[in-house]
């Protein structure tokens, strides 16, 4: 019998033979891994091996939706895609918003496991009860927006995860967008799809209903959450300003490091004035878009209504602005549109462009490497040109297409130290311009490579008092026995706190719950447990759910351990240890409170604390046998 909250089935598709099989979602997987990203990881265990590189036909693409997806849980819309990615070589758990998880479950499937390689371009249409492989020859070569538009015309109501030209050309910094909006798969998910000749995944609207075990109790919890969310002052600001402007409000204009972390851009009157003009245009030309059931609607459609770029429209949740040149609204929206259409990850792409300019100016990258391309990291037209070259691997674009690891491999050690990367990914937050909180630190420990989805904690914002930490620790389900190890007088152990921060976010992954700060902040372990139990009727204690989240994280780490990853890959970029100077002020790599400079030895000590709190071997950075036994993973 299908457990309420679940669609009940897993579909396996072998693209090489075209054969499919459908199985019940095993109850023991639900018990051990809950769902979503958790069950994805469990399904991968027998499919991922060191002899399968990211582009091997056997490298699986596993798509998952947790029990909160397809219901009205606020923020419960996430879809998870797990595969081995080319940028890092790591087995990743990628996530995105939009309606894909809802649609997939409406067709009866909690998960879809794809292996093999199609002999010709196809798109996979997920329909009630099964999948259909549809000819995608005419779509091959089309960009992300056009592909979504054409498939929506054919199959609406549906949700589409397409690949752009960059995916077709196996570009390791490729990314895609669900229904043009929510990004998913930085590090080359589209390239893995492209290697299998998959142009798109299309989840149609089916007729499977998601049941609720105790509807009155479940509705009461959700309505209480919604009341709190709707009355939060930040919600109105988010609706009016969008993510792009709201981030400035939250984090301040401040000093912004340049793309590759070697320089700094400081705010000045002219830049603030330029930004004011930009903000006025942006506010008046954006339309908020929301994921299913979400009261925050942080996605958006942004249009240009005047000037040479009139008619340009782009989707997502942040216009790619640079502090150095934000005055020209139309040009930056145009650039964002092109980068999105080509399907390139902005963080890695910008980092690479900025780094190559820096290296070329110092003679560390030669004219032959650049292939005659002119680089100006403050010029939107430069990004447009380079995006097109990168997606097609033409000229200098071939170098950029290989990503940060590829570039680092071509440089001598002197130049290589300037490559700011963690396991092939560009960090999103540089602790020199912010501070070292869990968000910054877990970029180092994430099995996938630098990513920011797993660091939610009291350190999300600067200047928290220690009194806040205990309250947040309770909210995040941190057991009381761990507090004495985490909270140490007027400071805290970042390594130990980060273990629980990751587990907390892992729980969100297992449930399909969005862990953006403005959603996460309304949830506590007690709320989540009550919601899960009223939805599923399984009546599991909170500690049991946290254990499942921890189990899935440990298994994820174990899988990557088998792929060769270990502590030696948990390295911060060397550049973080070099201060940058701006306007007489030095921006250094310090702890959360800005009291102590972090040295390489200090970072080692933080990592030691992290591994110890996880029950992992500090020498290898991998789960110990005892830990694996405790979690039932042996």
């Amino acid at each position: 019998m299908t457990v309420p909250g679940y669609a009940g089935k897993i579909l396996y598709l072998d693209l090489t033979t075209g054969k499919t099989r459908v199985e019940e979602t095993p109850r023991e997987m639900i018990d051990s891994f809950i769902g979503g990203g958790g069950i994805n990881t469990s399904l991968a265990r027998s499919l991922v091996s060191p002899d399968l590189d990211p582009f091997s036909p056997g490298n699986p693409i596993i798509i998952g939706a947790g029990p909160f997806a397809g219901t009205v849980v606020p923020g419960g819309a996430k879809v998870f895609i797990s595969t081995r990615l080319p940028a890092s070589g790591a087995f990743a758990r990628a996530s995105g918003g939009g309606a894909f998880a809802l649609m997939m479950k409406s067709c009866g499937f909690d998960h879809l496991v794809i292996t093999g390689r199609s002999p010709s371009p196809v798109y996979i249409r997920i329909a009630p009860g099964g999948v259909e492989l549809c000819d995608a020859t005419v779509l091959w070569g089309q960009d992300i927006y056009d592909t979504v538009d054409q498939l929506k015309k054919l199959h609406s109501p549906c949700s589409v995860i397409p690949i752009g030209v960059s995916g077709e050309n196996l570009v390791s910094i490729s990314i895609t967008s669900i229904d043009k909006g929510g990004t998913i798969g930085r590090g080359g998910l589209p390239a893995v799809m492209g290697s299998k000749n998959i142009k798109a995944l299309v989840a149609c609207q089916g007729s499977t209903g998601i049941k609720v075990a105790r509807h009155a109790e479940y509705t009461r919890i959700i309505n209480g959450l919604l009341e709190r969310m709707k009355s939060w002052p930040g919600r109105q600001a988010l609706q009016e300003n969008g993510m792009s402007l709201q981030l400035v409000e939250w984090w301040g204009e401040g000093h912004v490091l340049t793309g590759n972390g070697t320089g700094v851009s400081s705010p000045g009157p002219e830049k603030i004035e330029a930004f004011r003009h930009f903000a006025e245009s942006y506010r008046s030309n954006r339309k908020p878009l929301g994921c299913p059931g979400c009261p925050m609607a942080d996605k958006e459609m942004v249009a240009v209504t005047e000037g040479p770029h009139r008619g340009t429209v782009c989707f997502g949740n942040n216009i790619r602005t640079l502090p150095a040149a934000r005055a020209d609204y139309g040009r930056w929206v145009k650039m964002t549109e092109v980068v999105n259409r080509e399907g390139l990850d902005w963080f890695d792409f910008r980092n690479l462009v900025s780094l190559c300019q820096f290296l070329a100016q110092r003679g560390l990258l030669g004219a032959n490497d650049l292939g005659g391309a002119a680089i100006d990291e403050n010029d939107p037209d430069c990004y447009i040109e380079l995006a097109r070259l990168t997606a097609r691997r033409v000229g200098f674009g071939e170098l950029l297409a290989g990503g940060l690891k590829g570039l680092a491999g071509r440089l001598d050690p002197e130049a290589g130290r300037y490559v700011t990367q963690i396991k092939g990914h560009s960090p999103v937050f540089d602790p020199r311009s912010s501070y070292l909180g869990t968000m910054e630190f877990t970029q180092i420990t994430n099995p996938r490579g630098a990513h920011i989805s797993f660091g939610g904690s009291p350190t999300y914002t600067r200047g928290r008092f220690m009194a806040d930490f205990e309250r947040h620790s309770r909210r995040m389900g941190i057991p009381a026995e761990a507090w004495s190890r985490i909270i140490q007088g007027d400071t805290f152990s970042l390594g130990r706190l980060s273990r629980y921060s990751e587990d907390w976010c892992s729980l969100f992954d297992c449930l399909s719950l969005c862990n953006r700060a403005f959603v996460n902040r309304f949830y506590s372990i007690d709320t989540i447990t009550a919601l899960f139990n009223s939805l599923t009727g399984l009546d599991r204690p909170a500690a049991d759910l946290m254990l499942a989240a921890e189990r899935s994280w440990n298994l994820w780490r174990m899988i990557n351990g088998e792929l060769g990853f270990s502590r030696r890959d948990d390295l911060p970029p060397e550049m973080w240890f070099y201060p940058v100077r701006s306007g007489g002020r030095e921006l250094a790599f310090t702890d959360y409170f800005g009291r102590e400079i972090i040295t390489p030895d200090g970072m080692d000590r933080i990592l030691d604390q992290y591994y110890l709190e996880r029950g992992w071997d500090p020498a290898t950075g991998l789960p110990c046998t005892e830990k694996m036994q405790l979690l039932g993973l042996t």
């Binding site: 609406s156 007729s207 209903g209 998601i210 709707k230 339309k287 878009l289 929301g290 299913p292 459609m301």
Partner: protein
Amino acid sequence: MSKKKRLAINPRRCVGCLTCMLRCSYRFTGAYTPAAAAVSISGPDCSTGDFSISLLEKCDGCGICAAFCLYGGISLAEGGDRL
């Protein structure tokens, strides 16, 4: 209680979150089944960003869509009864 409630539609305010379809479908089927909803959301329009909101034949005007709309895309018109 009258079933003839009047619903006001404002596509400009709709963000496409589908909450109305999910809530409506639960009333009809006892499960979240968007295909069974009496309200349909499609879009967004590529030039305006607006969604199309349609009330289907089987809509009995119960107002559950308006009661739970998070953005004002569907609301009870003046004079309409509250749930």
